[in-house]
Amino acid sequence: MFELNWSALIAIGVLLGVFTLAPGLIWLERRLLALWQDRYGPNRVGPFGIFQVLADMIKIFFKEDWIPPFADKFVFFIAPGIIMLTVLMSFAVIPVAPGVGVMDINVGVLFFLAMSSLGAYSVVLGGWSSNNKYSLLGGLRAASQMISYEVFMGLSLLGVVAMAGSFNLREIVNAQAGMWNIVPQFFGFVVFMVAGLAEMHRIPFDIPEAESELVAGFHSEYSGMKFGMFFVGEYVGIVLISAVITTFFLGGWHGPFLPPMVWFFLKMFVFICFFILLRASLPRPRFDQLMTWGWKLMLPLAILNLAVTGAVLVAVNQGH
């Protein structure tokens, strides 16, 4: 009974943590983008403009929640829920610190990959049910982008899995106690980061919602809190990808001097800032370029990385 309560408490803690991180992230992103573009960003509401997000949230809650008459009502309604559900479910397997984590399953990597694949449904269904040509185009692009980047996202993780000898995220983290995976698995790290960005359709890869071509892409018809769900889902996605990269490649909670949880959040924070930096600096590629990179560059790189990792591991193990 005590065991059950403890895990429920952790689950609620993770949920609250994620939901406070996401709005904080919106503020952080606006401030950092402003810093890199020689502006100030929100600095009026509260100290350093921190309450700007709060004001925006109050505003978005009171906005009219309009469903277009030509939309498929039911699918239109559930699409924003799917992205929130899948992203939050993925957080369940992230080990924050030894003993802190919602669940500890032996196929954590597969669970994460499955959940991020299901996230594609949200975007596709949202774009399709809107019954609008721009939304449909955005949904189509999202489908092809997410499916093709899913392929080598999984492949790039296999090197990590091979080195740890387990699909369990805790064991993967513990296997990095000596050396972080970013050194032996550097190419895997690069490929996974690119794939993660594309998976969360962050700005260099925000082709499904390219505002210069598709109005707002798959969420053109969404308003009010339904749009807010997509928006928050995207930011929670950034937190998720940063947390996952920290777990797989940066040794999770391992680090000297500081307590494990602090190390985890520190590494995560660095990656969040790095993703915002990418947003501030890189332009959006053309859609065919994105596909070309995915299939002709990233996929061979991931396969090569996996093959070399496997060969080296076999050679080392035979020596013993």
Binding site: A34, L35, W36, D38, Y40, L277, L278, A280, S281, L282
Partner: protein, 171 residues
Amino acid sequence: MFSIIKTIWIVILHMFRKRETVQYPDEEVKLRPRYRGRIILSRDPDGGERCVACYLCSAACPVDCISLQATEDEHGRRYPEFFRINFSRCIYCGLCEEACPTYAIQLTPDFEMSEADRHNMVYEKEDLLISGEGKYPGYHFYKVAGLKIKGKDKGEAENEDEPIDFKKLLP
């Protein structure tokens, strides 16, 4: 690939640059003398109105925001009976200033003129007239123009020769 890393590096370096934003209500905006803002009507060095009500400004105005009515005083000098600028229409293009033959209408570096009521944006002549000479000090239209007014006959303006009597111009 190299260009991507270079781009990211340049963006990082921007962290240490000065921010371009002027925090307007707290900080004052530096406006140049030729900034095109609120329109005024200037006076000549003697304190009279420079405007001769020629209608060129209202004809040049692309949004038709200037309206005036010409009249004449006892000296034979033309002046506007009323002069009205609707600033809620004005686009601050400065064409009226370019069209003005007497340097009367001028744009000034001031834009802080918002009103809660739209009707308050209509400025009458007494709102537009200033007591100074604006950007062109020393200019006095009637003193350089060949126009005859009371107290100044033909040929009495500055740099003006006596009018030629064509009946005595015969060889």
